[in-house]
Every structure is written in structure tokens, then in C-alpha cells.
């Protein structure tokens, strides 16, 4: 269930940038952002925050999957040891 | 010994295929329907976008090739013949080469039909420089088949083999499609850009050499339990 939810969230996160606005016609040389009229400038803060937040979420998610798998393995070991003790000759 | 085994494997596959011609015909028909789908998708007001013809040709080759690979090894798996081959006292890499030659021949025949068909539908002068065109097609097909044969063989015992083969194969054969399409497009330009096409041909040839070598090295390891 959690796995499905996580997969769904990841799919949305991955696919959203692909559906972004079409890029404007190319410029022929590099123009620093300060020269571009204010109407064409994007607010940078949400982009920066999204980037850092995504990094944090991704790393924490991975740490959580390792934690979860480690717990499962430890539970398996304990269960096996219990059964071994019970059926010991 | 090595090439005799490879040739014997090729002859076996050829003998089986020539009786029913099942894989050949179905692959051909699939490639043709692929081209038709692209035609209906791309042609606007009676004209295809420029440079569409090489792209469509190579995509059709790759899609048809993927299917052909799957079906060829499905036949092996069904008849359990590969296990028999592996038990034979034959050098394993020779089996790989035999299967590779079979796939290349099959795709070659398919291309014999596809190239004129795409040239016909999309008004592309594929035959302006026949030698370079043939070499490009050969190099690209060999490269695709080299990686494809190895992956299809190793996936034979996997349950999800049908969907895993494209997932594994397409990222690895990206240089083939880039080289093939750009090389063919260079040949279709108004004064045909032979230098460019030769350069792409060299890249494809290098790809072929590297990946056939890698496949020969790893085939034995991958086919054993």
C-alpha cells in the first residue's frame, strides 16, 4: 500500500516537469537575467525551495526504505532462530 | 571449429524458418504496419516533415528487430533446443555468433522490403548512394542485433522477458539509432554529405566491434546458472 502510494507520488513528481510550458523561441546569445525585462523573469525562490526540498525528500525516502528493509530482515532472522530453537533435536 | 559451429547453428535456424517462414513474414508485416502508422501520424497536407524518412526507417527496424529477437528465442525456449545446444561440446560464443548471424539475416531481408517502402511513401532518395547506405544499414543492424541477441538469450528464462527486452535494449542501442538516422539523413541531403555519413559509419563500426567483443566475453557466464 505504501509502496503503491510512493510509486504514485514519484510518478507525478517525475512527469510534471515534462508537461511544462513550451520554451520560448531561442535567443541567439547569452543575456544575463538582469537585462531581461521584469515581465519575463520568473520568481526564483519557489524553484530553489522546490529543488532543496526534493533533495531532502528523496534522501529521507531512501533512508526510510533501507530502515524498513533492515527491520524486515531482522524480523526474519529472529523468526528463523525461534523456529530453529523450537524444533531443535 | 568455432565458425563451423556458428554456421551449423545458422543453418539449423534457417532450415526451421524456411519451412514456415513464420517469423519472417510476421516481422515484415509488423514493420510495414509500423511505417503506415508513422505515415498517418506524420504526413500533413500530403507531405511528411523533412528528415522524417530516415527516422521512420530506423525506428521500424528497431521495433521489428525487438519483436524478431523475442520470437526467435521464444522458439528456442519452447523447443528447449538451447539447453541441448548448451550441452553440446561446442564453444559457447560460437552459439552466440550463430544466433547473431541468423538475426542479422532476418533483419536484412526485412530491410530489403522496408527501405524501398519508406523511400516510396516518403519520397526519400535512399538509393542515391547505394554503397554507403548499405554499409550504414549493415553496421547499424549488426550493432542492434549484437546487443539484442545477448539480452534476448539471457532473458529467455525470465518471466517478464517480453517487456524487459525493450527496457534493457533501447537505452544501450541509442548510439545505433543516432548514428543510423543521422548517417542516413546525411546521405539524403541535397548534395549528399558523404563525409558525415562515413563518420557515422565509423562510429557504428566501432560500436559493433566493442559490443560484439563484450557479448562474446559475457555470453558463457550469462547462459550458465
Amino acid at each position: 500500500m505504501i509502496k503503491r502510494l510512493a510509486t504514485f507520488v514519484w510518478t507525478i513528481v517525475l512527469v510534471t516537469p515534462l508537461f511544462a510550458l513550451q520554451p520560448p523561441p531561442g535567443q541567439t546569445e547569452f543575456r544575463p537575467m538582469t537585462e531581461v525585462p521584469p515581465s519575463e523573469q520568473l520568481p526564483a525562490a519557489p524553484l530553489v525551495i522546490t529543488a532543496y526540498a526534493f533533495f531532502l525528500v528523496a534522501v529521507l525516502f531512501y533512508v526510510w526504505t533501507i530502515w524498513r528493509r533492515l527491520n524486515k530482515v531482522e524480523a526474519d532472522i529472529r523468526a528463523l532462530e525461534r523456529t530453529a530453537k523450537r524444533t531443535a533435536p | 571449429m568455432f565458425f563451423r559451429v556458428a554456421f551449423l547453428v545458422l543453418r539449423k535456424d534457417f532450415a526451421i524458418e524456411i519451412k514456415s517462414r513464420e517469423i519472417l513474414y510476421t516481422t515484415l508485416l509488423f514493420a510495414v504496419s509500423c511505417v503506415l502508422v508513422f505515415a498517418f501520424a506524420l504526413v500533413k497536407e500530403g507531405e511528411a516533415p523533412p528528415d522524417a524518412a530516415p527516422a521512420i526507417l530506423w525506428i521500424a527496424i528497431m521495433f521489428a528487430g525487438t519483436l524478431a529477437l523475442g520470437r526467435t528465442f521464444e522458439r528456442e525456449r519452447y523447443g528447449e533446443t538451447l539447453r541441448a545446444l548448451l550441452l553440446a561440446p561446442a564453444p559457447r560464443p560460437a552459439l552466440y555468433v550463430g544466433k547473431l548471424l541468423g538475426i542479422v539475416l532476418l533483419l536484412g531481408v526485412a530491410e530489403l522490403v522496408l527501405v524501398p517502402l519508406v523511400a516510396f511513401f516518403f519520397l526519400a532518395p535512399f538509393f542515391a548512394k547505394p554503397l554507403l547506405m548499405t554499409l550504414l544499414l549493415a553496421a547499424g543492424t549488426i550493432g542492434f542485433a549484437a546487443v539484442g541477441t545477448l539480452f534476448a538469450a539471457m532473458l529467455m528464462r525470465v518471466r517478464t522477458r517480453d517487456v524487459l527486452l525493450p527496457i534493457l535494449l533501447y537505452p544501450i542501442t541509442v548510439p545505433v539509432i543516432i548514428g543510423g538516422v543521422r548517417g542516413t539523413a546525411a546521405l539524403l541531403a541535397s548534395p549528399a554529405d558523404e563525409a558525415m555519413a562515413t563518420m557515422w559509419l565509423a562510429i557504428l563500426a566501432a560500436f559493433d566491434v566493442v559490443f560484439i567483443t563484450l557479448s562474446l566475453w559475457t555470453f558463457e557466464v550469462l547462459m550458465t546458472e
Binding site: 531561442g26 528463523l80 | 524487459l164 566493442v210
Partner: protein
């Protein structure tokens, strides 16, 4: 023991990141790209970490195919998972930066395309391991090996492909580092490397414990059989 060490190491790592963030914050925004350039400090180390993961997976795969040692396989899968993780971070932070800095979400230039394809190849690596059924470690190792081998071909082909046809939007050279950008970048890279090593150790420990369970299970089966 590793289990108890893991949270401690992560806590140390978090402190390192906070320090790096303080550095990043204190550097004045780079004049031509403004605030959004700060993404750069996390974006570049993400790619470094991905390539490190790919290197570990590639070497581990070759070692596993050559010797069959389980440690090699554990190293390979750990490298593969980390490559996919950090590659995903790079692939998401990159467009977020690029949209603001260059006006487009994506560019088909050599570096980006190679990185994307490599990431897809290692996603395929993990897919084969998960859905390939028993014995899929060897198949995945082949994918890892071939994926690493194809990287120079892809880079080279895409490079030529893109320089023949001029880019429609210009990707400027990464700004020459002003001296004040170096400390936060180094701090960030260092934090990422420490994070990489901590996660790698944790993943290897997980692999070892899973191997222990399998051994215990087999021993138990042998005893009660």
C-alpha cells in the same frame, strides 16, 4: 553494531549539510543568474554522486560476472540504487535551475542526454533485479556492464549530433568560479560524499543481513529435511 552507528552517522551528516547550507547562504547571489544559481551547489554534487554510484555498479558487475562473488553483487546493487537516487535528484534540480537560468526546461546536449540515458539504464538495472526472477543478479550485472560501456559512445554521438545542428537556445559556459563560490561548493561536495558513503555502508549492511537470512534459512532447511 552498524545498526546503532547508522543514525549517528546520519546525524553527523545532517550537521555537515547545515554547515554547507550556511556557506551557500552567505555567498552573494551570482550576478548573472541570481538566486536560482544556489541550486547549482546541490545539483553538481548530485551528478558527482551518481557517477560514483555508476562506477561502483560497473566495477561490481564486472567483478561479479568474472568471479561470482556475492560481495561483488552486493556492491553492485548498492552502487546501482545510489546512482538512481542521486541521478533523480540531479534530473529534477537541473530543469528547475535551467528553466530560470536559460528559459528552457531541457536541452538535448551531450552531457544532459548521456546522464539521462545512464540514469535510465540503471533504473533498468534495478528493474531486472526486482522483476527478473531467480538468477537475475547475473542478468542485471550484464546490464550494468553494458550500460557503463555504452556511456562514451552516447556522449560522443550526441556531441556530434548537436554540434552539426546549432543549438536553438544557447547554453552558456558554466560561469568561471568566482573565488567566493569555491568554499560553499567544496562544502557541499564534501557533505554529499559523506552522505554517499554513509548510505553505501548502510546498503551494504542490508545486503549482508539479507545474505545471512538466506544462509540461515538454507541451514534450517538442511537440518529439518
Amino acid at each position: 553494531m552498524m545498526r546503532k552507528l547508522f543514525p549517528v552517522l546520519l546525524a553527523i551528516n545532517a550537521v555537515l549539510f547545515v554547515a554547507a547550507l550556511i556557506f551557500i547562504n552567505r555567498v552573494p547571489p551570482e550576478s548573472s543568474m541570481g538566486l536560482v544559481q544556489k541550486i547549482f551547489y546541490f545539483h553538481v554534487p548530485s551528478w558527482i554522486a551518481m557517477y560514483l554510484g555508476i562506477a561502483i555498479c560497473g566495477v561490481g558487475s564486472i567483478w561479479y560476472l568474472a568471479t561470482g562473488r556475492p560481495q561483488a553483487d552486493r556492491a553492485a546493487v548498492a552502487g546501482g540504487e545510489l546512482a538512481v537516487l542521486f541521478g533523480l535528484v540531479g534530473l529534477v534540480t537541473g530543469p528547475l535551475w535551467a528553466r530560470k537560468a536559460w528559459g528552457v526546461w531541457w536541452q538535448w546536449d551531450a552531457r544532459l542526454t548521456t546522464a539521462l540515458l545512464l540514469w535510465l539504464t540503471f533504473v533498468a538495472y534495478l528493474t531486472v533485479r526486482k522483476y527478473g526472477g531467480p538468477g537475475s543478479e547475473k542478468l542485471a550485472a550484464a546490464v550494468g556492464l553494458f550500460g557503463t560501456a555504452v556511456a562514451p559512445f552516447v556522449y560522443f554521438s550526441v556531441n556530434i549530433w548537436r554540434t552539426v545542428h546549432p543549438l536553438t537556445t544557447v547554453m552558456p559556459e558554466l560561469p568561471n568560479s568566482a573565488p567566493e563560490m569555491v568554499p560553499p561548493m567544496l562544502a557541499s561536495i564534501f557533505s554529499f560524499l559523506v552522505l554517499f558513503v554513509v548510505l553505501l555502508m548502510a546498503r551494504l549492511e542490508l545486503g549482508r543481513r539479507q545474505a545471512d537470512v538466506d544462509e540461515l534459512y538454507l541451514a534450517y532447511e538442511d537440518r529439518t529435511a
